[in-house]
């Protein structure tokens, strides 16, 4: 009996080995190695790496460009995730009851999510074009959407909201559909208004899922790279530079591999911190 059990465990190990090896080699090893890289002065091309302890992190603490990027990233994340959540919830509530052509509409709202981010950035770049863009025509305005620091960051946010709202809506819709109908029937019998039903039934039932969606979207928005890199390249100036774009530029444009790695570690730590906070919140609201 004991040998049988050990056999079964060994077989399970064989089944798990390919995944374990791949994840260790291509994910866990780099995650540890980057900690070491962040303690070095290292250029991508010339010179030999030199161990400099925590100097990169001291530099990070006093690097105005890093703090600018962090503020941009946090602002981008908070505003776009909130927008996506509100719009996504409205969309989910709208799609909740069956109607003719619901399957088609499902497929249509998947489109912004399915389009490659780089492609949507190029699409929006054209829509935002100051001279020939259709947005300025529709608004009868002459706004330099991508050339003005304040407009540019919000233009990037609007694009992200457009792309991610369907994802949020579909997740929330799945949550809405798992709420038992009887609850609403009972509330209707008791004469509850629609708003009361939403506040007393829908919202509490949906809250844990909303937090899960918040975790996904926050992490995703915080590491934003593709869309802004293509839309504005971080400009004008560094008004739309996010932490991922800053790290990328350090690594592959100014070739400061050690310092760029330290910035990347700081991003990893921020994401980890946000996840822990959300997980703690989730545990508190979950029944």
């Amino acid at each position: 009996m004991a040998t049988d059990r050990r056999n079964r465990e060994e077989r399970a190990t064989l089944f798990l080995a390919p995944a374990g090896i791949t994840l260790s080699a291509v994910m866990l090893f780099p995650a540890v190695y980057i900690l070491w890289l962040s303690l070095e002065r290292r250029s991508l091309i010339f010179g030999t790496p030199q161990f400099i302890g925590f100097d990169n992190y001291l530099r990070l603490a006093h690097d105005p460009q890093f703090w600018n990027a962090l503020v941009n990233t946090v602002y981008f994340t908070v505003v776009s995730v909130q927008g996506e959540l509100v719009l996504g919830l409205l969309m989910a509530l709208l799609l909740r009851r069956p109607f003719r052509g619901r399957g088609l509409l499902y497929a249509i709202i998947l489109i912004p999510w399915a389009i490659p981010t780089v492609v949507s950035a190029r699409m929006w770049e054209w829509l935002y074009n100051a001279d020939f863009g259709v947005l300025n025509y529709l608004f009868q305005a002459r706004i330099n959407w991508l050339g003005n620091p304040v407009w540019a960051l919000h233009a990037a946010i609007a694009m992200d909201v457009w792309k991610s709202t369907p994802f949020v809506a579909l997740l929330l819709l799945a949550g809405l559909q798992s709420i038992p109908r009887e609850l609403y029937h009972a509330a209707a019998v008791d004469g509850a208004s629609r708003w009361t039903m939403f506040r007393r039934i829908t919202w509490p039932a949906l809250l844990p899922l909303i937090l899960v969606v918040l975790i996904f979207r926050t992490i995703d928005a915080f590491r934003v790279f593709d869309s802004i890199y293509v839309l504005t390249g971080g400009g004008p100036g560094s008004s739309t530079e996010t932490v991922s774009i800053y790290a990328y530029k350090l690594l592959f444009q100014t070739l400061e591999f050690g310092y760029g790695s330290a910035v990347a570690v700081a991003i990893l730590m921020s994401v980890a911190l946000a996840t822990v906070v959300y997980a703690w919140l989730l545990r508190r609201v979950s029944p």
Binding site: M123, W124, S261
Partner: protein
């Protein structure tokens, strides 16, 4: 009245999702000189010049082939590795199963930028810089957490009696996996395959960092670095966007139910 308002809102939702892409299609069909004419409305006639241009004189075709190889290879590898692991986690005796699943979830939150620099050095040391294999390896790893989660859940939803019956009939665990469980799991495999394929087709940061020439550049890199010497070739970019997005739209249209199932499975059950 109420249903009219609702219908209007539904139309607005559809427009919101479709309009930017429809505009890109209109742009791709405009004669070149009308791109910079105001007001920017519908073209006076439809021209396919932009489409001819991107396939005769740009690295786009090569990028499409590269992307097909990378996304196809990644999907295959991730599914094989993910199905093996998912089956073991769902039906075999695994010590610390919950810890393994939690660990997989944690690594899926990893920001890609935090592994770009060490992976760059690692792939260089292995002589894989600027190769498609480098991207396949990286993408496979980064889509494994999703594949493992989806497939573990799916294998769990298949009644355990079927597995036990096949074992009683004399199958080894691997035979039972291969002959009985895998065919039953095909809807789950399809959902995972779609999500992994779309992820690999769209990924940009690694593709930008690990490739250096058109020999290994994928579609997103080609679109981002679209050649334009003096002015931005908006018509060509629009045509390229339409071409590389169409396969995804077809997938989304045909398999939207599976994609939505796959997307929601993790979040709603977890």
């Amino acid at each position: 009245m109420r249903s009219a308002a609702r219908g209007l809102a539904l139309v607005l939702v559809a427009l919101y999702s479709l309009a930017p892409f429809l505009w890109q299609i209109v742009t791709s069909l405009k004669p070149a000189h009308e791109l910079t004419s105001l007001p920017p409305l519908l073209p006076s006639r439809i021209e396919f010049a932009s489409y001819l241009a991107i396939f005769s004189d740009s690295p786009l075709l090569r990028a499409v082939v590269n992307s097909l190889i990378v996304a196809g290879g990644t999907t295959l590898l991730a599914l094989v590795i993910g199905a093996l692991a998912g089956f073991a986690l769902a039906r075999l005796r695994v010590r610390r199963r919950a810890a393994i699943l939690a660990g997989v979830l944690v690594v899926s939150m990893f920001p890609p930028i935090a592994t770009v620099s060490p992976l760059f050095l690692l792939l260089n040391a292995l002589g894989l810089h600027d190769t498609l294999l480098a991207l396949i390896l990286t993408y496979t790893t980064f889509s494994l957490p999703l594949a493992i989660w989806l497939l573990t859940n799916f294998f769990r939803s298949i009644p355990e009696e079927l597995y036990i019956a096949s074992r009683v009939d004399g199958c080894t665990p691997f035979q039972s996996f291969y002959r009985v469980m895998l065919p039953l799991a095909s809807p789950g495999l399809a959902a995972a395959a779609l999500l992994v394929f779309i992820f690999s087709w769209n990924e940009f940061l690694y593709a930008l960092s690990f490739t250096a020439t058109t020999a290994s550049r994928t579609v997103p890199v080609a679109i981002a670095l679209f050649p334009g010497l003096h002015e931005v070739p908006w018509g060509d970019i629009a045509a390229a966007s339409v071409v590389v997005t169409l396969p995804l739209l077809v997938l989304a249209m045909v398999f939207h139910r599976r994609i939505v199932d796959g997307l929601t499975a993790g979040a709603v059950k977890g």
